[in-house]
């Protein structure tokens, strides 16, 4: 395309493009040194760290978080906010399991729904919650923070109420498949997360709607004037966010072979931490999924290292929080250009 530009006013394109590409790549890789450092620390702390089993374990444990991070990143890039995603991670699988379990004594509905139908309901309920969030935020123009905070509490409450606080066991294998099966020796949840990162990464970069999400988050008025259907796209982002979170919940349920009423609780903090450390701007319009993925991996490795280092269980959260703060500061400092973290 350099050939099409022949005016003197324009600088040679090739060099500019290459420079730009280089700087972009650099920004996405800001966290690599930190990840390297964390892995080095892990190797020093325990011989068990650098084993294939442990590394796969880290990836699998990060897979659910990473899927919710995709959901939140989409919403953040569009300039909105969703705190309720972690409650979807809990409620949607609980709803599915509740419909499956026949015994009302242990908290089931007594309906005995087929496992595959239940999976559909899990996903549909996640999307439906997204529809409601989108309606409240986009159509009724309520503040996204407070709407999704209320939804966070409401949905968690429904999860508790549904089974009177009981944990549901005895779920059919198809319902647990995503968290238990392995393809080529690698857990399915890792494959799914990787596939979703690839798909959504390409979607955000190479699809019209993906680019529209960036434009809306960058300047919604300009996007509207350019003919982008701001309301529809934003609403859609909430729906996809809910759907992905329900999927993440299903993966989590499969891994622990039951649904606890606290499933996904407090996850949203790590979702935000991973996204923001990874360069997704809370102000909208900036950041890439590749960066968010490095954020997820850093958090996953840190948690693993802290566990292996046998930090007293009661202090693990404090250490984790402190490290997230340091990571944020580092991301800010090494990010170079003003990145509104």
């Amino acid at each position: 395309m350099t050939g099409t530009v022949g005016t003197r006013a324009v600088l040679p394109f090739g060099t500019g493009l290459r420079r730009r590409a280089a700087s972009l790549r650099l920004r996405e890789l800001t966290l690599l040194p930190a990840i390297g450092l964390a892995m080095l620390a892990g190797a020093l702390v325990s011989d068990a760290f650098l084993t294939a089993d442990n590394l796969l374990n880290i990836l699998q444990q990060s897979s659910e978080l990473s899927v919710v991070v995709i959901a939140e990143s989409l919403i953040l890039i569009a300039g909105k906010f969703d705190l309720s995603l972690e409650s979807v991670v809990g409620l949607s699988p609980m709803l599915g399991a509740w419909l499956i379990v026949k015994d009302t004594e242990v908290g089931g509905s007594g309906l005995g729904l087929n496992g595959f139908a239940a999976i559909l309901i899990v996903l549909a309920s996640g999307a439906a919650i997204g529809v409601v969030n989108g309606f409240l935020v986009v159509r009724m123009r309520l503040n996204a923070f407070i709407v999704t905070l209320a939804m966070l509490i409401l949905l968690r409450g429904i999860t508790l109420g549904l089974t009177n606080g009981k944990t549901l066991f005895g779920l059919p294998p198809e319902f647990l498949y995503l968290g238990t099966a392995k393809w080529a020796g690698v857990p399915v949840s890792i494959w799914i997360a990787a596939l979703l990162y690839l798909l959504f990464g390409l979607f955000l970069r190479y699809h019209r709607t993906g680019r529209a999400i960036y434009a809306i988050g960058g300047n919604a008025e300009a996007a509207r004037a350019a003919g982008i259907q701001v309301e529809r796209v934003t609403w859609g982002v909430f729906v996809v966010g809910g759907l992905l979170s329900a999927l993440a919940g299903l993966m989590l349920t499969g891994r622990i072979a039951s649904v606890v009423t606290t499933q996904g609780q407090n996850m949203i903090f790590y979702v935000f931490a991973a996204a923001v450390i990874g360069g997704i701007s809370l102000n909208g319009g900036r950041g890439r999924l590749l960066g968010a993925l490095t954020g997820v991996l850093l958090l996953g490795i840190l948690q693993n290292v802290l566990t292996l280092a046998q930090i007293a269980a009661f202090w693990i959260d404090a250490a984790y929080g402190a490290i997230i703060l340091v990571a944020l500061i580092l991301a800010r400092v090494t990010g170079g250009t003003a990145q509104d973290v």
């Binding site: 395309m1 099409t4 530009v5 022949g6 005016t7 006013a9 324009v10 600088l11 394109f13 060099t15 500019g16 493009l17 730009r20 590409a21 970069r205 190479y206 699809h207 019209r208 709607t209 993906g210 680019r211 529209a212 960036y214 434009a215 960058g218 300047n219 008025e221 300009a222 996007a223 509207r224 004037a225 350019a226 003919g227 982008i228 259907q229 319009g285 900036r286």
Partner: protein, 511 residues
Amino acid sequence: MPNGAPHSVAETIAVSKRFGASQALREVSIAIPAGDSRALVGRNGAGKSTLVGVLTGLTAPDSGLVRLAGEDAPNLAERRRWRERVACVYQKSTVISTLTVAENLFLNAHPTIGGRWINWSALHRRAKRVLEEWGLEIDVTLDAARLSVEQRHIVEIARALLQGTRFIILDEPTAELEAREVARLFERIRHLQKGGVTFLYISHHLEEIYEVCRSVTVLRDGAVVANAPLDAMPKQRVVAAMVGEAEGAGARGRRGALPGRAAGAGGPDATPALEVRGLRLADAVENVSFAIAPGECVGLAGLVGSGKEKVADMLVGLLRPDGGEIAAAGAVLRPGRVRDAQRKGIGYVPRDRHARGIVPHLSVAENLTMTIPERLGPAGVVWPAEQARQAGRIVASLQIVAASTEQPIGELSGGNQQKAVVGRALASAPKVLVLVYPTQGVDIASKAALFGIVANARAGGTAVLIVSDDLDELTVCDRVLVIFKGRLVGGFGAEWEDRELVAAIEGIGAQ
């Protein structure tokens, strides 16, 4: 007064101010005697705002002297002393809408108990007394959010009076008001005038100044060109002073910036590129109809708040009209749908490129191709190579100066950003191009380049609508329609005189 001279509440002596290349004020000397009510008029860019800035101590003059209440003006840093002598009520309200009227009046100067605790009953009592004293009837316990625009202005005036100010500058207070509200505001102003308050009144609505003012100062190109009692200044003389005799005397029209309109224009029975029939928007636009032929350039001129930008918003689908019909090349647009307007051939260059034009940290390529996603690849896919190619074509043809099409557009100069916004509108090969103040805030060279781009588009058969009240922008038009208070009130052919057009824009009616 100590020197026995007549008391002036405000006086400037040979004040000059330069911003970069433009001389905003040239040796401006005015004196406003106590009890006067002075109108300050001039075209956009004549220096009114700068003069207000100098008089309120927000702008330091390069040379000259400002005197307030017969003394040399205080140091710029002494805001409190300025506020005691002069207050300005801007078009944009500075009332805090979440607080009550009383709190707004005593902002940060609440009556207290023991110097610390707010004495609410005294606050309300004193606020009520102040308003009553000046004959202003507003419930002081009301949230300011519930006030009308006119009442907000009154609260701001009352706040100034409370601080002891007896000289108040009103900067286009009526731009957003309805006729009834304007009448009420004027009644208050006249009442306050009787009480000894001096006003400096800035307005684009010339007929208004005759209602409330006694004298007028006319600025043109930063200099005072007239300074007289209004009795001696009929409207036509005011307009003549604003426009300038020399310029106003000669006819003006298309000044060679464009080729003749023959280019691309169809015969008399050809379908118009744009046809507007009975367009209506509640409280803003009333029964506006016009048509533009392919290749024709039409100006839509009017004051701020005249409805001209509302018309533009309806044409491009950002605003849904309450009635009427818009057709592009015969195809009727679905009301309020930007995408539909785009598909049917309406291109849009918004007035404020920062608010509506660009997404600053996205690349030039991305911004340029925002209106043509379907051309960048199949099934919604955006091929970066195709995007760069399409953008590169626009960059080259409009000579946009950028390091590359991957550079964030926010890093470009204002003129190049504006070219990009125009380029984007043209990317979809529109039948009609709607430009709102297309050269506002761009340098002279870019201005000429932008007009060149528009001329090329016209030569290709695109109809152009320029929405503006900047005479330079309207110069390139084949004809100019004037809108006043939501209605089309006149039309001018290719040859118009500045004075006539300005008079029509100001609502005086062409002679």
